[in-house]
């Protein structure tokens, strides 16, 4: 007997369509009616899961959008009082309503609405944590529980953030628009920050589970891609961010071993790096090299590209890498950048100077005591110098601080290499 092919929906179709539908409907109903838009979307999905069980439409995405469109026309018509006019005028008004709503459903306008939604959710007046939650909910179509799982918190905390963000937007009458001129670049920066945070949350979070982390990275890349497809969002820095995400994501599968232990860059199997993503990363990096605005994403992407270009860790062009980090430090003088730069210094054979620079980081005592990564790097540098006493001190401190099992294992392995060590 012939086996019927199982019917499949594109991965995350509902999520992605939810983002589009909410954006378009919010543009129609107004930001103050965003809950109404969310309700219409939920209704459309319920209708879909009901009807599709018996017959799946030829174009599921179009079916959903059509359902949203019809509902929007219904709602707007319901608010009109056609009956008080003549039949002739009422018929014309009805037709005009339909026409007015209809025009927001072209591909171009849908993309435009999505961009407006991204700008609204990433509005600089909102708290950063609220921006992330709201973006995931309204732009990305994540459920509350999924956001909580991704950000390693509870449902109530996310509900609170969403409520607070929506209230703020209503009370301050934040416009559902794409900013223009000087304001655009400034606002794009805040969007980049949120997208990069989302990506990093997925890439680096040591607590969230692997599946949701992959979703987060994919989602951040998808949103950056939406940005790049709009004439306002199509900026060199957008491409630089996209490039950075692709190059980082190319290493997603090689950064953990079978036992979920972290594999450091120098030990990763470079054959496992995703060539397709690296190619895309280079392509976007190329596209980003226009104009005269050099963003931090340009430099970070160039750094990531250097890693991908090197056949092995020891082949890395450390001189070039150091130049890039020097540049990055002038634009983004954060302790993490300084710490990473110290690692490069050590690779260039200047471990002593690297240690001095780590110890010169502002507030380093507090950082060493609170964040495992600083003591881990410092311990590592001392290990390179065979200063076993100091190495043991900082590696043990890091071991004490990290909540991550893979990292604990890694640190323990290092401590075991110290002669005479009992760990």
């Amino acid at each position: 007997m012939q086996t019927a092919p199982a019917q499949q929906l594109i991965d995350h179709l509902f999520r992605h369509e939810a983002g589009k539908m909410i954006a378009v409907l919010t543009r129609i109903f107004g930001m103050h009616n965003i809950e109404m838009a969310e309700d219409v979307v939920q209704e459309a999905f319920l209708k879909a899961i009901h009807a599709w069980k018996f017959e799946i439409p030829a174009n599921p995405a179009a079916w959903l959008m059509q359902t949203a469109r019809n509902k929007a026309i219904d709602i707007v018509r319901r608010q009109q009082h056609y009956n008080q006019y003549s039949k002739e005028v009422a018929a014309q008004l009805r037709a005009e309503t339909e026409h007015t709503i209809e025009q927001f459903f072209s591909d171009e306008e849908i993309n435009d609405s999505q961009l407006r939604m991204i700008f609204t959710c990433c509005h600089p007046a909102l708290k950063q944590e609220d921006r992330i939650a709201l973006t995931l909910k309204t732009v990305s179509g994540f459920g509350v529980a999924e956001i909580a799982r991704a950000l390693v918190t509870n449902d109530a905390a996310i509900q609170k953030r969403l409520y607070r963000a929506k209230q703020f937007i209503k009370e301050h009458d934040i416009q559902f628009e794409i900013p223009a001129g000087q304001e655009l670049m400034h606002r794009l920066d805040t969007v980049y920050t949120i997208l990069y945070l989302l990506f990093n949350e997925g890439y680096n979070s040591i607590k969230a589970d692997e599946l949701i982390r992959r979703d987060l990275c994919g989602e951040a890349m998808r949103l950056a891609n939406i940005l790049s497809q709009n004439k306002a969002g199509k900026q060199p820095a957008t491409y630089a961010l996209l490039s950075l995400m692709c190059l980082q994501a190319s290493r997603f599968d090689s950064r953990l071993d079978e036992e979920n232990s972290i594999i450091l860059l120098q030990h990763q199997d470079r054959n496992k790096w995703n060539r397709e993503l690296i190619k895309l990363g280079y392509l976007f990096l190329n596209k980003s090299s226009k104009g005269n605005y050099l963003s931090v994403y340009h430099i970070e992407s160039a750094i990531a590209a250097e890693h991908c270009l090197a056949a092995s860790f020891s082949d890395t062009n450390w001189k070039r890498m150091l130049e890039l980090y020097d540049l990055l430090l002038t634009m983004k003088a954060t302790p993490v950048v300084a710490l990473n730069r110290a690692v490069i210094l050590s690779q260039s054979g200047e471990t002593k100077r690297a240690i001095d620079e780590v110890l010169a980081i502002e507030n380093i005592e507090a950082l060493l005591e609170s964040q495992h990564i600083y003591s881990a790097v410092l311990g590592d540098l001392f290990l390179t110098l065979r200063n076993y006493e100091q190495a043991k001190k900082y590696l043990s401190l890091s071991l004490h601080l990290t909540p991550s099992e893979p990292e604990k294992k890694l640190l323990n392995d290092k401590l075991k290499t110290i002669p005479g060590a009992i760990t």
Partner: protein, 112 residues
């Protein structure tokens, strides 16, 4: 083999699903139907729109309802082939909506 009608009564459980959960539920259904088709026991099925009218009594009074909001609304039906009612009930047990408050009525189609 006889024909049995599986009548699906919607639950309320999926009301607050996230888009991803809805899609997962959808995918489960596709898998189930596919499985029934591959076994050659799926005859057909149709969905019913949730809103409707009821006509009742000697005066044929027409009233609105069942309503979309009703928990008890019939969502659709399948016709499947099974040896007897027990086997048909076993088939119904695999309905993906049972965990979300859905129910399935199993009825044999009468043959004259």
């Amino acid at each position: 083999m006889k024909d049995f009608m599986l009548i699906f009564i919607n639950g309320e459980g999926s009301k607050d699903f996230s888009p991803e959960q809805m899609q997962a539920n959808m995918q489960e259904w596709f898998g189930w139907v596919n499985d029934l088709k591959n076994k050659g026991i799926y005859v057909g099925g149709e969905a019913l729109l949730p809103a409707g009218k009821t006509v009742k009594g000697k005066d044929a009074v027409i009233t609105d309802g069942p309503f979309a909001e009703s928990k008890e609304v019939v969502g659709g039906y399948f016709i499947v082939k099974a040896a007897d009612i027990d086997e048909a009930s076993e088939i119904a047990k695999a309905s993906p909506d049972l965990p979300y408050g859905g129910a399935v009525q199993v009825r044999e189609v009468m043959k004259f």
